[in-house]
């Protein structure tokens, strides 16, 4: 379990950091060009620009991806240390648990908002969802039940529930494709 957690944190943190950086850059581009007219398409991905203009995109008064840059940088650093074989003190694990719990709750709130309130998908946001869940799941398992056998089964089922939500929420678009 320790090896898995180390790699999940290192790789997941890095991917999350990259996605948050791209989102921040896009946000700055959007601020520079506020007259950008969104295309009106049933394709939920093409209305991505509209996601970044919503109130949900800056819940705490500043763009969400800034939180991602800070958080994922810490996760990546800890992951790399673990991969290198460093053992972290308990209080660091507790701190990490608090951080990833906040992260996973926030991400699920954003998923709900994206699917049912905003009605659009933004690809880099989906990347952030996809890495935050295993980061939370494996950190929690390591801290609470390291012997749990079916760890990736739970992760896959978790992904499937969210994929089901995406399928249902944008059913009108998906059904136009087939």
């Amino acid at each position: 379990m320790n090896r898995i957690v180390a790699w999940v944190l290192a790789v997941g943190g890095f991917v999350g950091l990259a996605a948050s950086s791209v989102l921040t850059i896009e946000k700055i581009a959007l601020l520079k060009n506020p007259f950008y007219v969104p295309t009106c398409s049933i394709n939920p991905v093409l209305s991505c620009g509209s996601v970044m203009k919503t109130a949900q995109a800056e819940v705490f008064g500043f763009p969400n991806p800034l939180l991602g840059i800070a958080g994922f940088a810490v996760v990546t650093t800890l992951g790399v240390l673990l991969v290198a074989g460093v053992s972290l003190p308990n209080w660091v694990w507790i701190g990490l648990q608090v951080g990833v719990t906040f992260g996973v709750l926030f991400v699920h709130w954003l998923i709900y908002q994206s699917l049912y309130e905003i009605g659009a998908l933004c690809p880099y946001c989906v990347v952030v969802w996809a890495v935050t869940i295993p980061i939370f799941w494996y950190t929690t398992l390591r801290n609470i039940r390291p012997a749990f056998q079916y760890h990736s089964v739970v992760l896959i089922l978790w992904y499937l529930v969210i994929a089901g939500g995406v399928l249902q929420a944008f059913w009108f678009y998906w059904s136009s494709l087939v």
């Binding site: 969104p38 009106c40 049933i42 309130e117 659009a120 056998q149 079916y150 990736s152 087939v178």
Partner: protein
């Protein structure tokens, strides 16, 4: 292989088979129901979304074309409310509700003129639409009843389904004599396409 890895692979395989089966079986029903022209005249069908900024941008040009061509070209506006636009569907119902009192065109115009006030919101704009009805001098009670009328909603959604079958994936989409118009729907571009169809 561990039990965990085996069970994970089984789940992934089952999901992949289900998706592949679904995609394969739902193919081959792409019967294009593109709107056809009627009786030698040129027909223009527009699918629009009242909350879409580019539909608002195209609207004045369409009005101008309508007045210039008169009887020679029939203009038909159909609803294609995009699901991510929170109020587009209700706006379409509101237009039809105004239509029931003979003010469909007026409501279209008002919806687009005031789009920046009610568009892009994530809360219901029902009260704004009722205010519009008052401004047009409609019977507000009847209008509000019509807003909740499931038959009107069905009509709007049926138009969207029909548009989807004809290949509409965004708005505004124009069909000139049943052929999908491609390119930016500016006044000039639409005019030359219509002139071509007339000649």
């Amino acid at each position: 292989m561990s039990k965990n890895a085996r069970l994970s692979l089984i789940i992934v395989a089952v999901v992949a088979v289900v998706i592949a089966g679904f995609v394969l079986f739902s193919r081959n029903n792409n019967t294009t129901a593109a709107p056809q022209s009627g009786g030698g005249k040129v027909s223009v069908v527009e699918y629009l979304d009242l909350e879409c900024p580019s539909c608002r941008a195209a609207f004045p040009g369409v009005l101008k074309l309508k007045s210039e061509y008169g009887e020679r070209v029939t203009f038909d506006v159909r609803h294609f409310p995009i699901p991510s636009h929170r109020n587009a569907e209700l706006a379409a119902v509101a237009v039809e509700a105004a239509g029931a009192q003979g003010k469909r065109d007026e409501m279209f115009k008002l919806m687009f003129e005031r789009q920046q006030e009610w568009g892009g919101q994530q809360t219901s704009q029902r009260s704004a639409f009722v205010t519009f009805a008052q401004q047009l001098g409609l019977d507000t009670a009847a209008f509000e009843t019509a807003l909740g009328d499931s038959a009107l909603k069905e009509r709007v959604l049926a138009q969207r389904t029909e548009g989807g079958k004809a290949g509409v994936t965004g708005t505004p989409t124009f069909f000139i004599n049943g052929t999908k118009f491609t390119g930016a729907p500016t006044y000039e571009a639409l005019k030359s396409a219509i002139d071509k169809a007339l000649s």
